[in-house]
């Protein structure tokens, strides 16, 4: 074996070992690498009351309520299967609306409500000109998912 091919084998073997080690570590830490839990995760994982965590999903249609003080709001986050009621007091991001993907940070209280102290909007991977969406809607051809609603 020449010195060149020996160097090549060493690099290839070392890299494969390193990549496998990384893959194992990432799989082991799966739960910690996840940025947020879905409502289903929350039900199945038996999260302790008061523990800080993030909850993500779609804002359920027809659940958004603004309370009398003008700042507090209530809505539900759903992933299609499960739904969790959320209450929040503060400023909402521009993209926030019913049907929109959001991620909230906070904790569960004893009643199973999620008390959020931060709400982030998640936007999807679709990019479309505003006029195209308006034209599709005008002709009744718009078959987008719930997230595909114009803000204005």
């Amino acid at each position: 074996m020449t010195r060149k091919s020996r160097r090549m084998y060493i690099i290839v073997v070392a890299f494969v070992l390193l990549a496998s080690a990384t893959a194992l570590v990432l799989t082991a830490f799966e739960d910690n690498l996840v940025y947020f839990y879905s409502p289903t995760d929350l039900k199945t994982k038996q999260v302790t009351v008061g523990r800080s965590l993030r909850l993500g999903g779609l804002v359920e249609e027809g659940t958004f309520v603004k309370l009398d003080d003008g700042l507090s709001i209530r809505f539900s986050i759903t992933d299609g299967a499960e739904s969790v009621p959320v209450s929040y007091k503060g400023i909402l991001p521009d993209l926030f609306r019913e049907g929109q993907g959001v991620i909230t940070e906070g904790s569960l209280n004893e009643k199973g409500d999620f008390i959020a102290h931060e709400v982030l909007a998640k936007h999807d991977e679709n990019y479309m000109p505003a006029e195209v969406i308006d034209a599709l809607k005008a002709s009744g051809e718009w078959r987008g998912d719930e997230e595909g609603q114009t803000t204005k």
Binding site: K4, R7, M8, I11, F15, L18, A19, T22, L26, E30, L33, V34, Y35, F36, Y37, S38, G56, L92, P93, D94, L95, I103, E118, V119, L120, A121, K122, H123, D124, E125, N126, Y127, M128, P129, A130, E131, V132, I133, E147, G148, T150, T151, K152
Partner: protein
């Protein structure tokens, strides 16, 4: 390996560089002008994000370049370690600051985009964190190259770091598919075709082309100046020895 080693000769490399530089500089300027004009004036506002979507035309090509340049450095490092290609270390050394610059640009524009759209300048999700690690890998590579008295040892150490750090590249790319992240999944390089309207995809691709050629121009100039510097050092030593 004969084709591969043809350009190992610095003089041949310099000659080729001088021929292609004017052309690729021209392509860079033209595509950058066209791309910027389309990005700012002819491309439409997004249905969800409005005008803010224009940040994409800088952010996304920067992120592509951040990963592309790191992959190039890793490839050059393999060539350097296995075949001792004389230009490979120079290419890696010349590329690292450019890659670090693009990574910084991607992080900074992403932050400016995140605040209005998500509601946060920064979050520790898998995509953002892995790109921040990429930025640190670039900085580590640059520091390591100059950490030793002998340039040769610095090159060797930096090459090993570059190859080890390459595991981060697929993690960055697939982080949005493997884990729940705040960052949305890929829009352009995905299995079922781009989920981005052609009127926005074209300016994006042209900006991507412009950034790639910009990198080529800058990296060739940097390699060239390294070669000239090495030549100068040799002459100076010869003069000192003769005196």
């Amino acid at each position: 390996m004969s084709v591969f080693h043809r350009f190992a000769n610095p003089n041949r490399f310099l000659k080729l560089t001088n021929t292609v530089l004017p052309w690729i500089s021209g392509i860079t300027v033209l595509s950058l002008l066209a791309g910027l004009y389309m990005a700012f004036f002819t491309s439409p506002p997004d249905y969800q994000q409005g005008e803010t979507v224009r940040i994409m035309y800088i952010h996304v090509p920067s992120a592509w370049m951040a990963m592309f340049i790191y992959s190039s450095i890793a490839f050059a490092s393999v060539c350097s370690l296995i075949w001792r290609h004389p230009l490979a270390d120079l290419a890696a050394k010349a590329s690292a600051p450019i890659g670090a610059g693009f990574t910084f640009l991607a992080l900074a524009t992403g932050s400016l985009w995140g605040k209005p759209m998500w509601g946060a300048w920064w979050v520790w999700d898998a995509r953002l964190t892995s790109v921040l690690i990429l930025f640190f890998l670039y900085l580590g590579h640059m520091a390591l190259m100059n950490a030793f008295e002998e340039q040769e040892r610095g090159n060797r150490a930096a090459a090993v770091l570059a190859i080890v750090g390459f595991v981060n590249i697929p993690i960055i790319k697939f982080s949005v598919d493997w884990w729940n992240t705040l960052h949305q999944p890929a829009s352009v390089m995905r299995a079922d075709g781009p989920s981005i309207d052609p009127s926005m995809l074209w300016p994006l691709l042209i900006m991507g082309l412009a950034f790639k050629f910009f990198y080529l121009v800058v990296v060739l100039i940097r390699i060239k100046s390294e070669l000239i510097e090495a030549k100068l050092r040799k002459y100076r030593r010869a003069v000192v020895d003769n005196a």
